[in-house]
């Protein structure tokens, strides 16, 4: 068994730079025929190994062949004073530009060596309250997270094929336990706040739940005036007198 290790090239430009470096080619005067052969040989090798070739490599192959063809054409007589347009120019510009950012990435890599042992605080104050409230939190969310979340929901539903329209499955028991739960943490609840954002259906449920709890003497409701908000307390929390 042979183990073949192929170097990873980040794209056709990366591959060309590799050839240029390996063969000590003058980047300002690339022997286009030779490098085109190298490039095509590489693609053939990939093909023989049954490795899928990304389309940008094929595009580059055709660009190289086009340049090669132009170079072979007998150069026409140029009028005096005008420069011959080198068919390689655009490619060389692209390679030089790419080289610049490769150089910068060396610089970034050197910086990483400096910050290698630098770790920051893992959790900040704004997160602690949420962790203790049992929400599993993300790191600070971005538009990207938001979009991803929506996409996943939509595609999940599409996979289901169809979806039934469901009625709210909120029951009286839920309303009762919800109220009692809140009162574990709060001394009192405002009825208005409790109902501020829920639908009419659920508002009715809450109202029935409150009546039920008052009947069971678990809850004490207080309203200072006819049109005022109703405040709810646990009877067990009331001062005895």
């Amino acid at each position: 068994m042979y183990k073949i290790v192929l170097p990873i090239f980040e794209g056709p430009l990366d591959l060309l730079l590799y050839f240029i470096k390996r063969d000590e080619i003058n980047i300002y005067d690339i022997p286009i025929a030779r490098i085109t052969d190298e490039f095509l040989n590489y693609l053939n090798m990939l093909q023989e190994l049954d490795i899928e070739i990304a389309s940008e490599f094929l595009v580059m192959a055709s660009t190289l062949m086009e340049i090669k063809a132009k170079m072979l054409l007998p150069s026409e007589k140029q009028p005096e004073g005008t420069e011959i347009d080198d068919p390689r120019r655009e490619l060389v510009q692209q390679l030089l530009e790419y080289q610049i950012y490769k150089e910068v990435s060396n610089y970034l890599e050197a910086n990483l060596r400096q910050t290698h042992n630098l770790f920051f605080r893992g959790i900040y104050e704004s997160e602690i309250a949420e962790i203790s409230s049992n929400y599993k939190t993300y790191k600070p969310a971005t538009v990207y997270d938001l979009a991803k979340s929506f996409y996943n929901l939509i595609t999940k539903n599409q996979k289901d094929g169809f979806h039934e329209i469901r009625m709210t499955e909120y029951k009286l028991e839920d309303a009762i336990s919800n109220i009692l739960q809140v009162l574990q943490f709060e001394r009192q609840i405002s009825f208005r706040k409790l109902c501020a954002t829920t639908s009419r259906q659920i508002l009715v449920l809450y109202f029935v739940a409150i009546l039920e709890l008052i009947k069971q003497k678990k809850l004490y409701a207080y309203q200072s005036d006819y049109e005022e908000d109703i405040f709810l307390f646990l009877t067990s929390n009331l001062p005895r007198n």
Partner: protein
């Protein structure tokens, strides 16, 4: 390896423990700390002590003792924070009297962290606004009233009217605070479905991607060392 940790001098043990708690992105549990100490760490760089500890000692209790000691050190050196126990794990938090200062500053209240449910609900409202609760629940397939309350409290959504259907449910829409939180100028800047697909779909190729990246990293690592 545990014995090796025990052989470190106590001050170093505390520093390692404090480092783990400081940098961990979730409150770190005693079990996680024990696992790291017993199985994952090399301590050859650190000074050891001759003081030997009875082998029978319980690691969890021992770690708790160290944490207590760290908190004591933090207190006596006037640090304004301490290690607290939350959601079964340990993390740093500012002490109450200083935490109060933070509470009065908006930059420390600006929250960008969301539970999965919150982010889902917010995403639906952002893309489908104005939308009612039953409609949201239909997409999410689950009750969402608590989540809506949290989002209202955080001022990320608002009620913009009622829908004229049965029950006249409230309609929700996102707020300016929402735009600010996500750094958007307006809602048109939200990615559209095709764009999200392009962004997200690379996920499906994840395996391929990891392979590729791992290779690159291998290279990178060898060049760093």
């Amino acid at each position: 390896m545990q014995k090796v940790f025990f052989n470190l001098d106590r001050e170093t043990q505390k520093q390692i423990l404090e480092t783990l708690i400081f940098a961990s992105e979730q409150p770190i549990t005693l079990d996680e700390i024990a696992d790291i100490i017993e199985n994952k760490l090399e301590f050859s760089d650190f000074p050891t002590s001759n003081f030997s500890i009875a082998e029978t000692i319980h690691l969890g209790e021992y770690l708790l003792g160290l944490i207590e000691e760290i908190n004591h050190d933090l207190e006596s050196s006037n640090r304004p924070y301490q290690i607290i126990n939350v959601a079964n794990g340990f993390t740093f938090a500012t002490k109450n009297e200083f935490g109060k200062i933070l509470g009065s500053l908006p930059q420390f209240r600006h929250k960008k962290r969301f539970s999965k449910a919150m982010l889902e609900t917010l995403a639906i409202i952002a893309y489908k606004q104005p939308i009612t609760r039953p409609e949201i629940e239909e997409i999410r397939g689950t009750n969402s009233s608590d989540i809506l309350n949290v989002l209202l409290e955080r001022n990320l959504i608002k009620i913009v009217g009622r829908k004229e259907t049965i029950g006249r449910p409230f309609m929700y829409a996102t707020t300016i605070e929402f735009l600010k939180t996500f750094g958007l100028n307006n809602l048109n800047e939200l990615p559209n479905l095709d764009e999200i697909r392009a962004l997200v779909e690379t996920k499906n190729k994840k395996e391929e991607l990891t392979l590729k990246i791992d290779f690159g990293e291998e290279q990178q690592q060898s060049s760093i060392q």
